[in-house]
């Protein structure tokens, strides 16, 4: 088909650029980083163009038996394609957002380019252990990014980030070793069709859950996220929210669900309970934050809970909604962090109270901030609406209670986002220095306009993004059909509703 190893090339470009950035001076490093990320973005466009919708499930496959025990095996399906596109799209914007970094620029750019390689690697790896290496290796550059270029409390945040995620991942490694031993292969597509014994599945599922739940992050292991976000530089937050969090969701959709369908079904109530708590609790926490970045960080946790709810809905709507929420959140949360970064660069504070009335002196900024706020709330016409609607529609078929509680997240989301927006952009100009801030510069416009365009595109015509994933999600849905729990929705016409049946109970029953 397309014999050229484009995925390897996409991995190689940022890697080579990263090494180059280490040895050159600051200005050249910026140029190299921007050039490399733009080049990778262009390669990403080629990749999307060449991706055959409705073609074979796995495309652009490469396989080189370079190592003992695992191999250099790459390949993507529609789900991975979309997440790779998200990564390569956000990267040049991150580099642009790093103009305010003046400390150790070469190393900074190198760390970001390395992150790009590893993120693409995670989504493109088709070998279990190759995936693990990419997944885990991201810890090192992220640790350095938070620790070196972060804010005041950066040391604590970097430790927390590193050790939390490491503990989650090593348990997953043991599970992977067991799986490779049991199935006799490390090939991910093969493993996705392999039926593990149900008793073993439960242990394996828990081990993978330990890793993905931390990365996701799910309540109650989310506490590293607000710390890491607040302390990371703007671009670090964008990458963290935009792509790193998606690794957890990707892990669920690629590993947990297809490899352990029965275990997934039996643990679905656990996921639902954790997600419901997360939606309500973190939304309420977001409501009382004084720090803009912390507020958006908590809102990320709430949005990710919608993702997990959709994932474990076991139907096409839920899964499609999950993917769109992930893509949309990647763009919107990334953009919101950029918006915070824009005013942080000017005033060097993230205190909400220090701002106010920015609509007067920064009208363009107010416009874009409004758009992303609305997208975060899930206003129709923006990407957030499509994803959240599909996810909730999916879960409604399984459990109306979970759907009900999760939907409050949207209302609470509107509350904290609009409250944030009102305090920052509307009202009186309380501080002279905030009132004197200039509007968006050309560079900043270059950062937010593309994201705004894609957010609207995804909101108005989501089909472009859903089409490549459709057959993969259908395949996943077919794989899950054997374990699908019965929903509590009574769609049979003419029969009265059974009394006294509790939703969780029904889900549990369906699982066994």
């Amino acid at each position: 088909m397309f014999g050229f190893p484009i995925l390897s090339l996409m991995l190689l470009v940022p890697l080579v650029a990263a090494l180059a950035c280490l040895v050159v001076e600051a200005k050249t490093a910026r140029t190299i980083a921007l050039a490399a990320t733009v080049a990778d973005f262009l390669l990403g466009i080629v990749l999307w163009n060449r991706f055959e919708i409705g073609g074979p499930q796995w495309q652009f496959q490469e396989n080189a038996a370079l190592f003992s025990g695992f191999s250099w095996k790459l390949g993507i399906d529609g789900i991975a394609l979309m997440l790779i596109e998200l990564s390569v799209f956000l990267m040049p914007i991150c580099i642009l957002a790093s103009a305010s970094i003046e400390k150790r620029v070469g190393e900074y750019m190198a760390a970001f380019l390395l992150m790009e390689t590893l993120m693409i690697g995670v989504f493109a790896a088709q070998d279990l252990f190759l995936f693990y290496i990419f997944f885990e290796a991201g810890l090192i550059p992220m640790y350095l990014i938070i620790g070196i270029w972060g804010g005041a409390d950066r040391i604590y945040a970097s430790y927390k980030f590193f050790l939390y995620t490491l503990l989650g991942s090593v348990l997953m490694l043991i599970a992977m070793l067991w799986m490779a031993n049991e199935a006799g292969t490390t090939d991910v597509p093969t493993l996705m069709q392999y039926s593990f014994p149900v008793a073993a599945q439960k242990w394996l599922w828990l081990a993978f859950f330990a890793s993905f739940a931390v990365k996701m992050p799910m309540w109650p292991v989310h506490t590293w996220l607000p710390d890491a976000h607040v302390q990371a530089p703007t671009a670090g937050s964008v990458i963290l929210a935009g792509v790193l969090l998606k690794m957890g969701g990707y892990g669920f959709i690629r590993f947990s669900l297809p490899m352990f369908p029965e275990a997934s079904a039996s643990y679905a109530p656990l996921i639902f309970v954790l997600s419901m708590i997360a939606v309500v609790y973190t939304s309420l926490v977001a409501l009382v934050q004084h720090d803009m970045k912390k507020l958006i960080a908590y809102s990320s946790v709430a949005h990710m809970a919608i993702v997990t709810v959709g994932l474990f809905a076991f139907n096409v709507q839920g899964l499609e909604g999950t993917m769109i929420v992930m893509l949309s959140h990647g763009l919107v949360a990334g953009a919101l962090f950029l918006c915070v970064g824009v005013i942080y660069d000017r005033l060097h504070t993230r205190e909400i109270n220090r701002y106010g009335g920015l609509a007067i002196n920064m009208p363009k900024y107010a416009l874009f901030f409004l758009l992303f706020t609305m997208a975060s709330i899930g206003l129709p016409g923006t990407s957030g609406f499509v994803g959240e609607f599909l996810s909730l529609a999916g879960i409604y078929q399984i459990s109306s209670w979970v759907a009900l509680v999760s939907t409050t997240g949207i209302i609470l989301g509107a509350a904290y986002m609009l409250y944030l927006y009102r305090r920052v952009v509307y009202g009186e100009q309380k501080n002279a220095d905030a009132a004197a801030m200039p509007d968006l510069s050309a560079r900043e416009l270059l950062m937010v306009v593309p994201i705004a365009a894609v957010v609207l595109w995804m909101g108005v015509y989501p089909e472009s993004f859903l089409a490549p994933m459709r057959s993969d999600i259908a395949a996943l849905d077919a794989r899950l059909a054997q374990a699908k729990p019965a929903g509590d929705a009574k769609v049979t016409a003419g029969k009265p509703k059974a009394t006294g049946e509790h939703s969780e109970h029904a889900v549990q029953e369906g699982a066994h």
Binding site: L66, F67, S68, G69, F129, Y132, I133, F134, E136, A137, L139, I140, Y143, L144, G147, I148, R154, I155, S158, Y159, F162, L163, L166, L167, V170, L171, L173, I174, L177, W178, A180, N181
Partner: protein, 487 residues
């Protein structure tokens, strides 16, 4: 005919002993730092030659052809693998020495000569097929090591380290001998094959005691918990090149020896020693990790790290499978590279007067002043913590893979979860170097050989190391298979 065959098999040992004795004479007549330098280079050349001599055996030798002196000694793939590591590690600790000892005013030819004799002893340890051969090799290595630890005659810490090492080492040798005598008493032989034959079908209580004491003695040499107490003090007190040596080559020898004793001599009673080894493995990982957290001296930290690493290697032994043994060998190869790299980086930390900087607090902000040393040390730290894509991950990977394949999932899960504790103090070193403000202490110029060695080990533990996994894996597999021939 038989004797000539035997003599040919022990060629590396002959070369080492003859050259060692000759150099001893040379140093007796021609003292001074210049001669010492020359002796060092000759010693390195001899170690390289020995390594070349054993390389052909790596691809496997028929058991009959490998056996020398009527079954006392074996020059097989396993011993060849261990010897290559030992010679490389010994050579590296020779190369780093001149710069250090010249500054300390203690550049003497005895250092390379003692290292040669220690290497000779270690070669005998990993080739031993009989408890007596084992003991001769072990003592030859230990006696050389005691003197090496006390090599800086005028430094109190060094003298203390030597004395401590000697007293505790002698005790451990006594325990080992006691165990050997019990084993001999209850099996009627000292040869590994004979012991294995005698233990076929059942083991007397006395032999179990013998096994326990033998393992205790060996655990001391390998510094596995609960016989690790001497390690931090000796590592801190001994001159840094000697510490680099202690942390690398003798570990390989002691663990190689333990593998031979456990998997050859006591193979029929694997269940008896597996629980001892499992306990030692987990205890070493946990104690090594927890003990390191409060350390302020980087050499003490690396001492605890070596205890921690021994625990991971022992997990491979606890499986008692060929995969486990081969995983141990792979781990040891990577461990030697990481250790050499780590200690070379420590040696490069010098203040303006050229004195060694050993306190972790003093290397704050190293990435500002000496970015290359900082990068090298950071790679070693992440690699020791087992974070991919660095090569240290692969060592842990193969060991835990072997454990999972042997059905020991709880052991693997426990071990790997404990490794997260270890990650904490490795991160601390990186944090001090990269996140803290520069202390400006480390400003001294580095020696050329140090830089080259650090670059070489950094290259080995970089992701490029994974390209070696196929070749390393197959060599280790051949070597490990030797241990399972007899059984």
């Amino acid at each position: 005919m038989d004797l000539t065959h035997s003599l040919r098999l022990v060629a590396p040992e002959e070369l080492l002993s003859v050259v060692g004795l000759a150099l001893l004479l040379v140093s007796a007549w021609a003292g001074g730092a210049r001669a010492a330098r020359a002796v060092t280079w000759i010693a390195v050349a001899v170690l390289a030659a020995c390594a070349v001599l054993v390389v052909p055996a790596l691809s496997g030798v028929a058991p009959a052809d490998a056996s020398a002196f009527g079954g006392l000694y074996a020059a097989d793939a396993f011993s060849a693998y261990a010897k290559v590591l030992i010679y490389v590690a010994a050579g590296a600790s020779l190369l780093v020495a001149p710069a250090f000892f010249e500054k300390a005013g203690a550049m003497r030819a005895e250092y390379p000569i003692l290292v040669l004799f220690a290497a000779l002893g270690m070669g005998i340890m990993v080739s031993a097929q009989n408890l007596m051969t084992l003991y001769i090799g072990l003592e030859l290595n230990s006696l050389a090591a005691y003197v090496l630890a006390a090599f800086l005659k005028t430094d109190e810490r060094s003298a203390e380290a030597g004395l401590k090492y000697f007293v505790l080492g002698a005790l451990a040798s006594g325990i080992l001998l006691f165990g050997m005598s019990l084993t001999y008493g209850f099996t009627g032989t000292t040869s590994y094959a004979g012991i294995a034959a005698a233990l076929q079908g059942g083991m007397a209580k006395g032999a179990l005691f013998g096994l326990t004491f033998v393992l205790a003695g060996l655990a001391f040499k390998a510094s596995a918990v609960p016989f690790h107490m001497w390690t931090p003090d000796v590592y801190e007190g001994a001159p840094t090149p000697v510490t680099a040596f202690f942390a690398s080559a003798p570990k390989v020898a002691a663990l190689g020896l333990t593998m031979r004793v456990a998997l050859e001599a006591f193979a029929p009673q694997a269940a008896a020693w597996q629980q001892i080894v499992t306990f030692a493995a987990i205890a070493s990982i946990v104690v090594g990790a927890l003990g390191a957290i409060g350390q302020g001296n980087i050499k003490r930290l690396l001492a605890y790290s070596s205890i921690n690493n021994v625990g991971f290697v022992l997990i491979g032994l606890a499986t008692a499978t060929p995969q486990g043994a081969s995983a141990m060998l792979v781990y040891l190869a990577i461990y030697v590279a990481m250790t050499v790299g780590g200690f070379v980086a420590v040696l490069m930390l010098k203040d303006a007067d050229g004195n060694q900087v050993e306190q972790i607090a003093d290397i704050a902000g190293l990435s500002h002043t000496r970015p290359l040393i900082a990068a090298g040390l950071a790679m070693v730290m992440f690699s020791l913590a087992g974070i991919p894509p660095l090569f240290g991950f692969w060592g842990k990977f193969v060991v835990f893979q072997a454990a999972v394949q042997a059905g020991m999932v709880p052991l693997a899960a426990l071990g790997i979860a404990a490794s997260v504790i270890g990650a904490f103090y490795y991160l601390k070193v990186v944090k001090v170097m990269y996140f803290d403000d520069a202390a400006g202490k480390v400003t001294g110029a580095s020696d050329m050989t140090h830089s080259v060695l650090l670059a070489a080990s950094a290259l080995f533990i970089s992701p490029l190391g994974y390209l070696l996994t196929r070749c390393l894996g197959s060599i280790a597999q051949t070597a490990a298979a030797v241990l399972f021939h007899a059984a």
